[in-house]
Symmetry: C2
Subunit: 491 residues, 2 copies
């Protein structure tokens, strides 16, 4: 049953890269830093999209689509935004190729140079706020609650499948409001939507909080985030939601007339999650045998594998399998029946373990005789025989049980790997020995934050919104601290 | 009730442009040739996507995602493909901006020039077949049935919302097969899927056929298409499906070992429809009052508008409206209840007429007294009063009736505007007097086709797969013709 998968113990990073490729989630393409999302990986992403999209619509948002390209000048309009995003990006300078005169192939036509270069969107605040100026005149046009599913490009020097790629898929919400309070409430609401999604669908517990000034989104007054802890003790930012104040409204001159007839700039938010979530999903639950998928996101929740030698045996097995498939599907369970004769059962067992299918059901001639099936759980690797009449009920209840079990395992892993420290010595010791989340007092200055980052590579993941708010003194400077904040080394 | 919409009679082209903008479907952006798809337009596109995606999956296809960028050299590998696509395209030459030394803003960093330029995909055959080389070794890996939902860019000089834009959204299927016959069967199947979708969901009758050699997709051996006729007598190609032979397999060296152990190149197809369908939808059904949407694609199938003066009246109306909304929703009908007090009923009537909502229900205090509602059909503009107990049944049956009516109207419009001609004189006369589809004999040569095109601007839309196959002589040269083919001026 060897899948030739490096173990997490041996090399966590190598284990991750191998698993993403071997489980058919994604692979590197011929284009530097750009990945191909393979059908199995894309099917998981589609399930994430469907759930998030439903949650966005339930909270009153509509989808729209804005251009891929952004004129270079748009970026200069919001000062901090250009510093954060306009630097490492793909720049379109020409709009035509032509055949080389020496017959060597196609070359860029120098006569087809753009007057103004176009940037492939790294995020769409600028092009969207340029559009909102035309859409918003009065309080009647507010709130404007829009989301976009799109590809974006950020020119990354070091890339890793899903976690950091030059092109990635994401959704970006961009909302406009009449008041500051409404915009803040929206940003907080979307952080909560992300947190609900992470916990209930991905089975990943997250810490909700706000970013420090230096870790904020370029152009935001407040960045809300959800932070998850991976199995190797490193943190992963799983979603962000930004309160943008009136910065973009001012940069793009978006004003509205209030009910009282007063002209004012609009208040903004933006929020997003990306295919990075795929990396978080893999790194939270999977093991040395392969992927482990929560039932709520698994493209196939159950796989049925027939076992037989002779054709007569197949006939009997096939009947039971198809009947079971039908019953499970009528309960809304996603079932795959793998009756290919090109692969042996052992190969299939291995394959679906690698691909993280939550439940595997094997049916052989002996089972048909006894009226049972063999049911194996991917999360615990436990197997048991179940009577035919109980299988459907069992599978239905296991859907919840496996989902809960994965979440609880992740919660207790996080609890084991969250440490409160009192001194900078202890901080460094914990960071190097076990890693994980570390709660420590910090004096609130960017200087101290930078010092810690430079000396330890740990960053402040967030100022948690929940938990103890006991005051103390900064572990580095001894200056007053209002509450402990969350540190970790991060992806 | 004036919507200030130019009539079709006055100026069909202007009517279209105005309608797309006024009905909130799309608008031009600050980026040349790129459109913003507004929430209402995007909601229609999402419904199209959902139905097509279901149809693709039912025919065994899976979704995946391939890079936005294609290295320039990939295009040179398939000779006819590069001629067709690599010319008018967006070229990424740099990957960084920097602050200008004179403080004038951001400029392209000359030190960040790419070694090989990247093309923003105009279509993905090359990058996908470069990937398929790694995925296909044996007959066991075939057929490979993959679809991608993506944005593509073709640098168009003259653009029109939905019909021809620099960036557009589409799906592109790319399949690989062990035999020529299988690939041809796949290409034909997808043409049929498109035709079913056009007729059953968009209510647009289409002619299925094959393209002439000069109108084929760059790199295809056969291009299947569906052709629709717009209200102004011009044709619109609504979808294409290509049999690519072994061209891309040879260009990208994709071979497989057959069951018999023989190594051979793989056979390919590709097929796509785009946001251009939105243009076809508007131009087929809409009228001088605005959009007319088929119920199967309408984001809101029914809108309920309350009519009242005093608050006591609203209370009674509101109760009836909400009760009706609940009943309709339980039948799967998409209902919007517009109880905004910021807009008058007249404004709302106008608005939903403009937006093509299939059924409008108005409820006032008089209706509450009498136990009726006023129901208005968008397609016929007929109004009638219906007793409360019959409304749900009526609406449910109208969904089918309106869908059918739109389809039948389009079929009879096409019949009225399809002419068989015997001579080139007659051909030119019909073309200039009524336009529409013209069936005429053609000798099968590119020369004659070009001559007709140059002299009349009419092109061969397709060689129909159905209909009469009576032989005759070419209307231009008098040479033998196997059957009449379909001509039209086209979008
Ligand atoms: Zn643990
Ligand atoms: Zn007509």
């Amino acid at each position: 049953m060897a899948k030739n998968l490096t173990t997490r113990e041996e090399d966590y990073s190598k284990w991750y890269n191998e698993l993403v490729i071997k489980a058919d989630l994604a692979e590197n393409s011929g284009v530097r830093g750009c990945m191909v999302i393979k059908p199995y990986g894309y099917a998981i992403w589609e399930r994430m999209q469907a759930e998030l999209d439903r949650m966005f619509k339930e909270t009153g948002h509509q989808n729209a689509y804005f251009p891929l390209f952004i004129p270079k000048s748009y970026f200069s309009k919001e000062a901090s935004h250009v510093d954060g995003f306009a630097k490492e990006c793909a720049v379109v300078t020409h709009y035509r190729l032509k055949n080389a005169e020496d017959g060597s192939g196609v070359i860029v036509d120098p006569d087809a140079k753009l007057e103004e270069e176009l940037i492939v969107r790294p995020t769409s605040e600028t092009i969207i706020w340029d559009t909102y100026r035309k859409w918003i005149q009065s309080y009647r046009d507010l709130p404007l609650l829009i989301n976009q599913w799109a590809n974006v490009v950020r020119w990354e020097m070091r890339t890793r499948l899903f976690l950091r790629t030059t092109e990635f898929l994401w959704q970006e919400g961009h909302t406009a409001h009449a008041t500051k309070d409404e915009a803040i409430a929206e940003a907080e609401q979307m952080m909560n939507v992300y947190s609900d999604f992470a916990e209930n669908y991905m089975a990943i517990p997250v810490i909700k909080g706000t970013k420090t000034e230096s870790e904020r989104f370029a152009g935001a007054l407040e960045t809300y985030c959800i932070e998850a802890l991976m199995q190797d003790g490193k943190a992963l930012q799983a979603g962000t939601s930004h309160f943008l104040g009136q910065n973009f409204a001012k940069a793009f001159d978006v004003k509205f007339t209030s009910k009282e007839g007063i002209l004012d700039y609009v208040w903004a938010t933006s929020w997003g999650v990306s295919t990075r979530l795929m990396g978080a999903l893999v790194m939270t639950h999977s093991d040395d045998n392969g992927l482990v998928l929560p039932p709520n996101l698994a493209p196939d929740q159950v796989v049925i594998v027939p076992i037989y030698r002779k054709d007569e045996e197949l006939e009997a097995v096939d009947k039971v399998a198809k009947d079971l498939m039908k019953q499970l599907r009528s309960k809304g369970i996603r079932v795959k029946y793998d009756d290919r004769d090109t692969h042996k059962p052992g190969w299939k067992f291995n394959e679906y373990e690698l691909k993280g299918v939550p439940i595997r059901i094997a049916i052989g001639p002996k089972d048909v005789e006894k009226g049972t099936v063999e049911l194996a759980r991917r999360d615990t690797l436990q197997k048991e025989f179940i009577n035919n009449e109980n299988v459907v009920e069992k599978v239905v209840s296991l859907m919840d049980e496996i989902q809960d079990n994965l979440y609880k395992k992740a919660v207790s892993h996080r609890a084991e790997n969250t440490t409160e420290v009192a001194s900078y010595e202890e901080f460094k010791k914990v960071l190097d020995s076990k890693g994980g989340f570390i709660l420590a007092h910090w004096d609130g200055t960017t200087e101290t934050e930078e010092k810690i980052k430079n000396e330890t590579k740990a960053t402040i993941r967030c100022i948690p919104l929940d938990g103890s708010i006991e005051a103390g003194v900064c572990m580095v400077t001894g200056n007053p601290s209002a509450r402990k904040v969350l540190f970790a080394r991060a992806y």
